[in-house]
Protein backbone atom coordinates (compact mmCIF):
# COMPACT_ATOMS: atom_id res chain seq x y z
CA UNK A 1 0.00 0.00 0.00
CA UNK A 2 1.53 3.26 -1.11
CA UNK A 3 1.44 6.08 1.41
CA UNK A 4 2.32 9.61 0.42
CA UNK A 5 3.90 11.87 3.00
CA UNK A 6 1.81 14.84 1.88
CA UNK A 7 -1.58 15.40 0.39
CA UNK A 8 -2.57 17.92 -2.24
CA UNK A 9 -5.87 19.51 -1.22
CA UNK A 10 -7.50 21.19 -4.23
CA UNK A 11 -10.74 23.06 -4.50
CA UNK A 12 -12.33 25.78 -6.55
CA UNK A 13 -15.25 28.09 -5.81
CA UNK A 14 -17.07 30.03 -8.51
CA UNK A 15 -19.80 32.59 -9.07
CA UNK A 16 -21.33 33.45 -12.42
CA UNK A 17 -21.66 36.99 -13.70
CA UNK A 18 -24.94 38.64 -12.70
CA UNK A 19 -27.66 37.39 -15.07
CA UNK A 20 -25.65 34.40 -16.41
CA UNK A 21 -26.70 30.86 -15.64
CA UNK A 22 -23.33 29.36 -16.52
CA UNK A 23 -19.88 30.41 -15.38
CA UNK A 24 -17.48 31.41 -18.15
CA UNK A 25 -14.47 30.32 -16.05
CA UNK A 26 -13.65 26.63 -15.93
CA UNK A 27 -11.50 24.79 -13.43
CA UNK A 28 -10.51 21.17 -14.05
CA UNK A 29 -8.17 18.97 -12.07
CA UNK A 30 -7.01 15.41 -12.50
CA UNK A 31 -5.11 13.09 -10.21
CA UNK A 32 -3.02 10.46 -11.98
CA UNK A 33 -2.68 7.77 -9.36
CA UNK A 34 -0.12 5.67 -11.25
CA UNK A 35 2.29 8.61 -11.62
CA UNK A 36 1.42 10.22 -8.25
CA UNK A 37 0.81 13.40 -10.18
CA UNK A 38 -1.84 16.13 -10.19
CA UNK A 39 -2.75 18.49 -13.01
CA UNK A 40 -5.07 21.46 -12.50
CA UNK A 41 -6.16 24.06 -15.03
CA UNK A 42 -8.10 27.29 -14.72
CA UNK A 43 -9.35 28.89 -17.90
CA UNK A 44 -11.36 32.06 -18.47
CA UNK A 45 -13.27 32.13 -21.77
CA UNK A 46 -13.79 35.27 -23.79
CA UNK A 47 -16.95 37.10 -22.70
CA UNK A 48 -19.42 35.41 -20.36
CA UNK A 49 -22.18 32.82 -20.28
CA UNK A 50 -22.39 29.69 -22.43
CA UNK A 51 -20.02 30.92 -25.13
CA UNK A 52 -17.29 31.69 -22.61
CA UNK A 53 -17.90 28.40 -20.87
CA UNK A 54 -17.48 26.46 -24.12
CA UNK A 55 -14.20 28.25 -24.91
CA UNK A 56 -12.90 27.75 -21.39
CA UNK A 57 -13.97 24.08 -21.24
CA UNK A 58 -12.25 23.35 -24.55
CA UNK A 59 -9.12 25.14 -23.38
CA UNK A 60 -9.00 23.46 -19.98
CA UNK A 61 -9.68 19.99 -21.41
CA UNK A 62 -6.98 20.34 -24.06
CA UNK A 63 -4.53 21.81 -21.56
CA UNK A 64 -5.04 18.88 -19.19
CA UNK A 65 -4.70 16.28 -21.94
CA UNK A 66 -1.55 17.78 -23.49
CA UNK A 67 0.09 18.33 -20.10
CA UNK A 68 -0.72 14.75 -19.18
CA UNK A 69 1.18 13.64 -22.26
CA UNK A 70 4.06 15.98 -21.42
CA UNK A 71 3.73 17.93 -24.67
CA UNK A 72 5.89 21.07 -24.98
CA UNK A 73 4.09 24.22 -23.84
CA UNK A 74 4.46 26.12 -27.13
CA UNK A 75 2.86 23.25 -29.02
CA UNK A 76 0.06 22.99 -26.43
CA UNK A 77 -0.64 26.74 -26.70
CA UNK A 78 -0.54 26.66 -30.50
CA UNK A 79 -3.01 23.81 -30.69
CA UNK A 80 -5.36 25.41 -28.16
CA UNK A 81 -5.33 28.78 -29.93
CA UNK A 82 -5.88 27.34 -33.39
CA UNK A 83 -8.62 24.95 -32.24
CA UNK A 84 -10.86 27.39 -30.35
CA UNK A 85 -13.86 28.63 -32.36
CA UNK A 86 -13.66 32.26 -33.52
CA UNK A 87 -15.90 34.72 -31.69
CA UNK A 88 -18.41 36.13 -34.21
CA UNK A 89 -18.31 39.65 -32.68
CA UNK A 90 -14.63 40.10 -31.94
CA UNK A 91 -13.26 37.83 -34.70
CA UNK A 92 -10.71 36.23 -32.35
CA UNK A 93 -10.44 32.91 -30.60
CA UNK A 94 -9.35 33.35 -27.08
CA UNK A 95 -9.31 31.90 -23.57
CA UNK A 96 -6.78 32.40 -20.80
CA UNK A 97 -5.26 29.52 -18.89
CA UNK A 98 -3.08 28.61 -15.95
CA UNK A 99 -1.83 25.02 -15.89
CA UNK A 100 -0.39 23.55 -12.70
CA UNK A 101 1.44 20.23 -12.86
CA UNK A 102 2.46 18.80 -9.48
CA UNK A 103 4.64 15.70 -9.54
CA UNK A 104 5.41 13.29 -6.77
CA UNK A 105 7.44 14.93 -4.01
CA UNK A 106 6.06 18.43 -4.66
CA UNK A 107 7.95 19.27 -7.86
CA UNK A 108 5.73 21.82 -9.57
CA UNK A 109 5.52 23.44 -13.00
CA UNK A 110 3.11 26.29 -13.68
CA UNK A 111 2.32 27.75 -17.08
CA UNK A 112 0.23 30.89 -17.18
CA UNK A 113 -1.28 32.79 -20.03
CA UNK A 114 -3.18 36.04 -19.47
CA UNK A 115 -4.80 35.06 -16.15
CA UNK A 116 -4.08 37.19 -13.06
CA UNK A 117 -0.71 36.09 -11.65
CA UNK A 118 -1.02 33.02 -9.44
CA UNK A 119 0.02 33.51 -5.81
CA UNK A 120 2.44 31.34 -3.85
CA UNK A 121 2.05 31.44 -0.06
CA UNK A 122 4.46 29.98 2.48
CA UNK A 123 4.22 30.60 6.24
CA UNK A 124 1.42 33.11 5.70
CA UNK A 125 3.52 35.29 3.36
CA UNK A 126 3.54 35.71 -0.39
CA UNK A 127 6.78 34.41 -1.91
CA UNK A 128 7.76 35.59 -5.37
CA UNK A 129 8.79 32.75 -7.67
CA UNK A 130 10.95 33.47 -10.68
CA UNK A 131 9.03 33.20 -13.95
CA UNK A 132 10.55 32.49 -17.34
CA UNK A 133 8.92 34.28 -20.27
CA UNK A 134 8.08 32.00 -23.19
CA UNK A 135 7.14 33.49 -26.58
CA UNK A 136 4.77 31.39 -28.63
CA UNK A 137 4.26 32.15 -32.31
CA UNK A 138 0.74 31.29 -33.43
CA UNK A 139 -0.70 30.72 -36.89
CA UNK A 140 -0.58 33.98 -38.83
CA UNK A 141 2.56 35.14 -37.07
CA UNK A 142 0.83 36.48 -33.93
CA UNK A 143 2.99 36.24 -30.84
CA UNK A 144 1.82 35.48 -27.33
CA UNK A 145 3.71 35.57 -24.06
CA UNK A 146 3.38 32.87 -21.48
CA UNK A 147 5.16 32.46 -18.17
CA UNK A 148 6.69 29.26 -16.94
CA UNK A 149 7.68 28.60 -13.31
CA UNK A 150 9.38 25.61 -11.81
CA UNK A 151 9.80 25.03 -8.06
CA UNK A 152 9.26 22.50 -5.27
CA UNK A 153 6.36 22.65 -2.83
CA UNK A 154 6.96 22.12 0.87
CA UNK A 155 4.53 21.17 3.59
CA UNK A 156 1.76 23.75 4.16
CA UNK A 157 2.53 25.70 0.99
CA UNK A 158 -0.47 27.06 -0.90
CA UNK A 159 -1.01 28.13 -4.49
CA UNK A 160 -3.89 30.51 -5.19
CA UNK A 161 -5.33 30.99 -8.67
CA UNK A 162 -8.00 33.57 -9.36
CA UNK A 163 -9.80 34.79 -12.46
CA UNK A 164 -9.95 38.47 -13.33
CA UNK A 165 -13.46 38.55 -11.84
CA UNK A 166 -11.67 38.54 -8.45
CA UNK A 167 -8.90 41.07 -9.11
CA UNK A 168 -11.27 43.41 -10.94
CA UNK A 169 -14.20 43.00 -8.53
CA UNK A 170 -15.57 46.28 -7.21
CA UNK A 171 -14.33 48.19 -10.24
CA UNK A 172 -16.02 51.57 -10.57
CA UNK A 173 -17.17 51.70 -6.95
CA UNK A 174 -16.17 54.55 -4.65
CA UNK A 175 -14.07 52.26 -2.46
CA UNK A 176 -12.06 50.70 -5.27
CA UNK A 177 -12.51 52.60 -8.54
CA UNK A 178 -9.82 50.47 -10.26
CA UNK A 179 -10.97 47.19 -8.80
CA UNK A 180 -9.79 45.05 -5.89
CA UNK A 181 -6.34 44.52 -7.40
CA UNK A 182 -3.59 41.92 -7.06
CA UNK A 183 -2.11 43.34 -3.86
CA UNK A 184 -5.41 43.41 -1.98
CA UNK A 185 -6.24 39.82 -2.83
CA UNK A 186 -2.77 38.71 -1.70
CA UNK A 187 -3.15 40.52 1.60
CA UNK A 188 -6.67 39.18 2.08
CA UNK A 189 -5.64 35.54 1.53
CA UNK A 190 -2.55 35.85 3.77
CA UNK A 191 -4.62 37.36 6.60
CA UNK A 192 -7.14 34.55 6.34
CA UNK A 193 -4.36 31.94 6.52
CA UNK A 194 -2.76 33.68 9.51
CA UNK A 195 -6.18 33.66 11.24
CA UNK A 196 -6.63 29.94 10.57
CA UNK A 197 -3.48 28.14 9.37
CA UNK A 198 -5.43 24.91 8.83
CA UNK A 199 -8.15 26.48 6.67
CA UNK A 200 -9.15 24.02 3.94
CA UNK A 201 -8.81 24.74 0.22
CA UNK A 202 -12.62 24.61 -0.02
CA UNK A 203 -13.17 27.16 2.75
CA UNK A 204 -10.42 29.52 1.60
CA UNK A 205 -11.70 29.54 -1.99
CA UNK A 206 -15.22 30.28 -0.74
CA UNK A 207 -14.03 33.17 1.43
CA UNK A 208 -12.29 34.77 -1.57
CA UNK A 209 -15.44 34.39 -3.67
CA UNK A 210 -17.61 35.90 -0.93
CA UNK A 211 -15.24 38.87 -0.63
CA UNK A 212 -15.24 39.45 -4.41
CA UNK A 213 -19.01 39.23 -4.51
CA UNK A 214 -19.24 41.79 -1.70
CA UNK A 215 -16.82 44.07 -3.64
CA UNK A 216 -19.26 43.91 -6.55
CA UNK A 217 -22.09 44.77 -4.14
CA UNK A 218 -23.54 41.26 -4.58
CA UNK A 219 -24.03 41.69 -8.33
CA UNK A 220 -20.93 40.07 -9.89
CA UNK A 221 -19.74 42.13 -12.85
CA UNK A 222 -17.76 39.20 -14.26
CA UNK A 223 -17.40 35.46 -13.66
CA UNK A 224 -15.55 34.99 -10.36
CA UNK A 225 -13.34 31.94 -9.69
CA UNK A 226 -10.79 31.07 -7.06
CA UNK A 227 -8.87 27.79 -6.88
CA UNK A 228 -6.64 26.83 -3.98
CA UNK A 229 -4.02 24.12 -3.87
CA UNK A 230 -2.73 23.22 -0.41
CA UNK A 231 0.15 20.79 0.08
CA UNK A 232 -0.33 19.36 3.56
CA UNK A 233 -0.43 16.44 5.97
CA UNK A 234 -3.16 14.06 4.82
CA UNK A 235 -6.33 13.69 6.89
CA UNK A 236 -6.98 9.98 7.20
CA UNK A 237 -10.30 8.16 7.48
CA UNK A 238 -11.15 4.48 7.85
CA UNK A 239 -14.56 3.20 6.80
CA UNK A 240 -15.13 -0.33 7.92
CA UNK A 241 -18.17 -2.25 6.68
CA UNK A 242 -19.15 -5.88 6.89
CA UNK A 243 -18.02 -8.87 8.94
CA UNK A 244 -14.88 -10.74 7.80
CA UNK A 245 -15.42 -13.84 5.66
CA UNK A 246 -13.94 -16.01 8.38
CA UNK A 247 -14.64 -15.45 12.08
CA UNK A 248 -10.95 -16.07 12.82
CA UNK A 249 -10.28 -12.67 11.26
CA UNK A 250 -12.66 -10.77 13.59
CA UNK A 251 -9.74 -10.07 15.92
CA UNK A 252 -7.61 -8.79 13.05
CA UNK A 253 -10.40 -6.43 11.99
CA UNK A 254 -10.76 -5.11 15.54
CA UNK A 255 -7.00 -4.51 15.79
CA UNK A 256 -6.98 -2.68 12.46
CA UNK A 257 -9.73 -0.35 13.68
CA UNK A 258 -8.17 0.13 17.11
CA UNK A 259 -4.70 0.94 15.75
CA UNK A 260 -5.80 3.23 12.92
CA UNK A 261 -4.53 6.80 13.25
CA UNK A 262 -7.35 8.98 11.98
CA UNK A 263 -11.13 9.17 12.01
CA UNK A 264 -13.12 5.93 12.03
CA UNK A 265 -16.55 5.04 10.65
CA UNK A 266 -18.22 1.67 11.11
CA UNK A 267 -21.14 0.77 8.84
CA UNK A 268 -23.07 -2.31 9.82
CA UNK A 269 -24.81 -3.72 12.88
CA UNK A 270 -22.93 -7.01 12.87
CA UNK A 271 -19.62 -5.26 12.20
CA UNK A 272 -20.15 -2.92 15.14
CA UNK A 273 -21.09 -5.89 17.35
CA UNK A 274 -17.88 -7.69 16.35
CA UNK A 275 -15.83 -4.61 17.25
CA UNK A 276 -17.71 -4.13 20.51
CA UNK A 277 -17.08 -7.75 21.46
CA UNK A 278 -13.40 -7.82 20.46
CA UNK A 279 -12.52 -4.41 21.93
CA UNK A 280 -14.74 -4.68 25.03
CA UNK A 281 -16.89 -1.68 24.11
CA UNK A 282 -20.61 -1.05 24.33
CA UNK A 283 -22.92 0.22 21.59
CA UNK A 284 -25.46 2.91 22.30
CA UNK A 285 -28.02 2.19 19.59
CA UNK A 286 -29.61 5.29 18.08
CA UNK A 287 -33.37 5.43 18.22
CA UNK A 288 -34.21 8.83 16.83
CA UNK A 289 -35.49 8.84 13.28
CA UNK A 290 -34.66 11.66 10.92
CA UNK A 291 -36.08 12.50 7.50
CA UNK A 292 -33.38 10.53 5.64
CA UNK A 293 -35.40 7.32 5.99
CA UNK A 294 -32.28 5.43 7.07
CA UNK A 295 -31.76 3.62 10.38
CA UNK A 296 -30.35 6.11 12.89
CA UNK A 297 -26.65 6.28 13.76
CA UNK A 298 -25.37 4.70 16.98
CA UNK A 299 -22.48 5.55 19.27
CA UNK A 300 -19.40 3.61 20.27
CA UNK A 301 -16.40 4.88 22.23
CA UNK A 302 -13.43 5.68 20.01
CA UNK A 303 -15.47 5.48 16.78
CA UNK A 304 -16.51 8.73 15.14
CA UNK A 305 -19.63 7.34 13.51
CA UNK A 306 -21.50 4.02 13.73
CA UNK A 307 -24.28 3.41 11.20
CA UNK A 308 -26.37 0.66 9.67
CA UNK A 309 -24.62 -1.14 6.79
CA UNK A 310 -25.87 -1.79 3.28
CA UNK A 311 -28.78 0.69 3.09
CA UNK A 312 -26.56 3.49 4.40
CA UNK A 313 -23.55 2.81 2.17
CA UNK A 314 -25.93 2.41 -0.78
CA UNK A 315 -27.22 5.91 -0.04
CA UNK A 316 -23.63 7.19 0.34
CA UNK A 317 -22.84 5.91 -3.17
CA UNK A 318 -26.01 7.56 -4.49
CA UNK A 319 -25.18 10.93 -2.87
CA UNK A 320 -21.59 10.87 -4.14
CA UNK A 321 -22.72 9.95 -7.63
CA UNK A 322 -25.38 12.64 -7.97
CA UNK A 323 -23.92 15.55 -6.01
CA UNK A 324 -22.69 18.65 -7.80
CA UNK A 325 -19.69 20.47 -6.35
CA UNK A 326 -18.30 19.62 -2.94
CA UNK A 327 -21.17 20.65 -0.68
CA UNK A 328 -23.21 17.83 0.90
CA UNK A 329 -26.73 18.95 1.68
CA UNK A 330 -29.18 17.30 4.06
CA UNK A 331 -29.06 15.29 7.25
CA UNK A 332 -28.84 11.68 8.37
CA UNK A 333 -26.16 9.01 8.69
CA UNK A 334 -25.33 8.79 4.95
CA UNK A 335 -24.83 12.56 4.74
CA UNK A 336 -22.64 12.41 7.86
CA UNK A 337 -20.48 9.72 6.20
CA UNK A 338 -20.23 11.79 2.99
CA UNK A 339 -19.12 14.83 4.98
CA UNK A 340 -16.40 12.77 6.66
CA UNK A 341 -15.32 11.27 3.32
CA UNK A 342 -15.11 14.63 1.58
CA UNK A 343 -13.27 16.16 4.54
CA UNK A 344 -10.55 13.48 4.34
CA UNK A 345 -7.63 13.01 1.96
CA UNK A 346 -6.61 9.39 2.39
CA UNK A 347 -9.48 6.96 2.84
CA UNK A 348 -9.06 3.33 3.83
CA UNK A 349 -12.08 1.17 3.04
CA UNK A 350 -12.08 -2.11 4.92
CA UNK A 351 -14.75 -4.37 3.47
CA UNK A 352 -15.89 -7.58 5.12
CA UNK A 353 -16.88 -10.16 2.53
CA UNK A 354 -19.18 -12.41 4.53
CA UNK A 355 -22.56 -12.71 2.79
CA UNK A 356 -25.56 -12.00 4.99
CA UNK A 357 -27.81 -14.97 4.22
CA UNK A 358 -30.89 -13.19 5.56
CA UNK A 359 -30.45 -10.50 2.88
CA UNK A 360 -30.72 -12.99 0.02
CA UNK A 361 -34.50 -13.37 0.35
CA UNK A 362 -35.95 -12.50 -3.11
CA UNK A 363 -39.15 -11.18 -1.51
CA UNK A 364 -37.31 -8.26 0.09
CA UNK A 365 -38.80 -4.90 -0.92
CA UNK A 366 -35.52 -3.38 -2.17
CA UNK A 367 -32.45 -4.62 -3.91
CA UNK A 368 -29.77 -5.23 -1.32
CA UNK A 369 -26.63 -5.06 -3.42
CA UNK A 370 -23.58 -7.01 -2.48
CA UNK A 371 -21.53 -4.87 -0.13
CA UNK A 372 -18.23 -5.20 -1.96
CA UNK A 373 -19.79 -3.85 -5.19
CA UNK A 374 -21.18 -0.80 -3.41
CA UNK A 375 -17.86 -0.16 -1.67
CA UNK A 376 -16.00 -0.49 -4.98
CA UNK A 377 -18.36 2.06 -6.48
CA UNK A 378 -17.74 4.44 -3.56
CA UNK A 379 -13.97 3.97 -3.99
CA UNK A 380 -14.19 4.75 -7.70
CA UNK A 381 -16.29 7.87 -7.13
CA UNK A 382 -13.97 9.14 -4.41
CA UNK A 383 -10.92 8.63 -6.62
CA UNK A 384 -12.25 9.88 -9.93
CA UNK A 385 -14.78 12.54 -8.96
CA UNK A 386 -13.34 13.85 -5.70
CA UNK A 387 -9.61 13.12 -6.27
CA UNK A 388 -9.22 11.26 -2.96
CA UNK A 389 -6.53 8.69 -2.36
CA UNK A 390 -8.42 5.47 -1.63
CA UNK A 391 -7.13 2.13 -0.42
CA UNK A 392 -9.63 -0.69 -0.42
CA UNK A 393 -9.02 -3.89 1.47
CA UNK A 394 -11.27 -6.95 1.50
CA UNK A 395 -11.18 -9.05 4.62
Amino acid sequence: MKTRAFHVDIDCAQLSKEGCQVCGDVFLSRRIKEEDRIIAVMSDGLGSGIKANVLATLTASMAITFTLEKQPIDRTAQIIMSTLPVDSKRQISYATFTIIDIESGGETRIIEFDNPAWIFIRDGKVIEIEKERVNVVLDGGRERQMYLSHFTLERDDRIVMVSDGVTQSGIGTNDMPFGYGDDSIREFVCNRIIEDPTVSAHELAKVVIRKSNANDIYKPQDDISCAIIHFREPRRLMVCSGPPYDEIRDKLLAEMVRDFKGKKVVCGGTTSQILARELGLSIDVGFTLDDSGLPPASKMQGIDLVTEGILTIGRVAEILETMQGFEVIGAGPAVAICKLLLGSDVINLVVGTKINVAHQDPSLPVELEIRRNVMRKIARLLEEKFLKEVNIQFI
Binding site: G269, S272, V285, F287, P295, H359, L364
Partner: protein, 86 residues
Protein backbone atom coordinates in the same frame (compact mmCIF):
# COMPACT_ATOMS: atom_id res chain seq x y z
CA UNK B 1 -41.98 1.63 45.44
CA UNK B 2 -41.19 1.94 41.71
CA UNK B 3 -42.89 -0.65 39.52
CA UNK B 4 -40.40 -2.49 37.30
CA UNK B 5 -40.75 -1.29 33.73
CA UNK B 6 -41.46 -3.60 30.81
CA UNK B 7 -38.35 -3.64 28.59
CA UNK B 8 -39.01 -3.57 24.84
CA UNK B 9 -36.00 -4.05 22.58
CA UNK B 10 -36.54 -3.21 18.91
CA UNK B 11 -34.11 -4.82 16.48
CA UNK B 12 -32.33 -2.13 14.43
CA UNK B 13 -30.77 -4.59 11.97
CA UNK B 14 -31.10 -3.87 8.26
CA UNK B 15 -33.64 -6.60 7.55
CA UNK B 16 -35.95 -5.73 10.44
CA UNK B 17 -35.71 -2.05 9.55
CA UNK B 18 -36.64 -2.76 5.94
CA UNK B 19 -39.50 -5.10 6.82
CA UNK B 20 -41.29 -2.50 8.95
CA UNK B 21 -39.01 -2.07 11.95
CA UNK B 22 -38.61 1.62 11.16
CA UNK B 23 -42.22 2.11 12.35
CA UNK B 24 -41.42 0.44 15.65
CA UNK B 25 -38.99 3.22 16.43
CA UNK B 26 -42.08 5.37 17.00
CA UNK B 27 -43.52 2.94 19.58
CA UNK B 28 -42.84 5.24 22.57
CA UNK B 29 -44.89 7.99 20.95
CA UNK B 30 -47.74 5.61 20.07
CA UNK B 31 -48.21 4.08 23.53
CA UNK B 32 -51.72 4.56 24.96
CA UNK B 33 -51.81 6.85 28.05
CA UNK B 34 -52.28 3.95 30.50
CA UNK B 35 -49.02 2.32 29.34
CA UNK B 36 -46.86 5.43 29.35
CA UNK B 37 -44.25 5.36 32.05
CA UNK B 38 -44.59 1.60 32.34
CA UNK B 39 -42.56 0.67 29.27
CA UNK B 40 -38.93 1.27 28.40
CA UNK B 41 -38.38 1.13 24.61
CA UNK B 42 -34.82 0.81 23.30
CA UNK B 43 -33.08 0.04 20.04
CA UNK B 44 -30.80 -2.96 19.77
CA UNK B 45 -28.11 -4.07 17.34
CA UNK B 46 -29.27 -7.01 15.20
CA UNK B 47 -30.80 -9.57 17.58
CA UNK B 48 -29.89 -12.33 15.10
CA UNK B 49 -33.42 -13.79 15.03
CA UNK B 50 -33.53 -13.34 11.25
CA UNK B 51 -30.89 -16.00 10.65
CA UNK B 52 -33.03 -18.72 12.27
CA UNK B 53 -36.30 -19.38 10.38
CA UNK B 54 -37.91 -21.02 13.42
CA UNK B 55 -38.18 -17.56 14.97
CA UNK B 56 -40.61 -16.41 12.27
CA UNK B 57 -40.45 -13.39 9.98
CA UNK B 58 -38.93 -9.98 10.65
CA UNK B 59 -39.27 -7.34 12.02
CA UNK B 60 -38.35 -8.65 15.44
CA UNK B 61 -38.57 -7.16 18.90
CA UNK B 62 -38.36 -8.58 22.39
CA UNK B 63 -40.60 -7.89 25.38
CA UNK B 64 -38.75 -8.70 28.60
CA UNK B 65 -36.59 -11.03 26.50
CA UNK B 66 -39.49 -12.79 24.75
CA UNK B 67 -39.13 -12.80 20.95
CA UNK B 68 -41.96 -11.20 18.98
CA UNK B 69 -41.91 -11.87 15.22
CA UNK B 70 -43.60 -9.73 12.55
CA UNK B 71 -43.82 -7.01 15.14
CA UNK B 72 -46.00 -3.98 14.56
CA UNK B 73 -46.90 -1.15 16.89
CA UNK B 74 -50.37 -2.62 17.57
CA UNK B 75 -49.00 -6.14 18.11
CA UNK B 76 -46.38 -4.86 20.54
CA UNK B 77 -48.97 -2.87 22.50
CA UNK B 78 -51.15 -6.00 22.75
CA UNK B 79 -48.15 -8.07 23.87
CA UNK B 80 -47.14 -5.45 26.43
CA UNK B 81 -50.66 -5.63 27.92
CA UNK B 82 -50.39 -9.44 28.08
CA UNK B 83 -47.02 -9.09 29.80
CA UNK B 84 -48.47 -6.70 32.39
CA UNK B 85 -51.40 -9.04 33.09
CA UNK B 86 -48.89 -11.85 33.43
Amino acid sequence: MDEKKIEVLVCSGTLCYLMGGSELQLLSECLPPDLRGKVDVKGSPCLDFCNHPKNGRPPFATINGRCIAQASVSLLIAEIRKEIKG
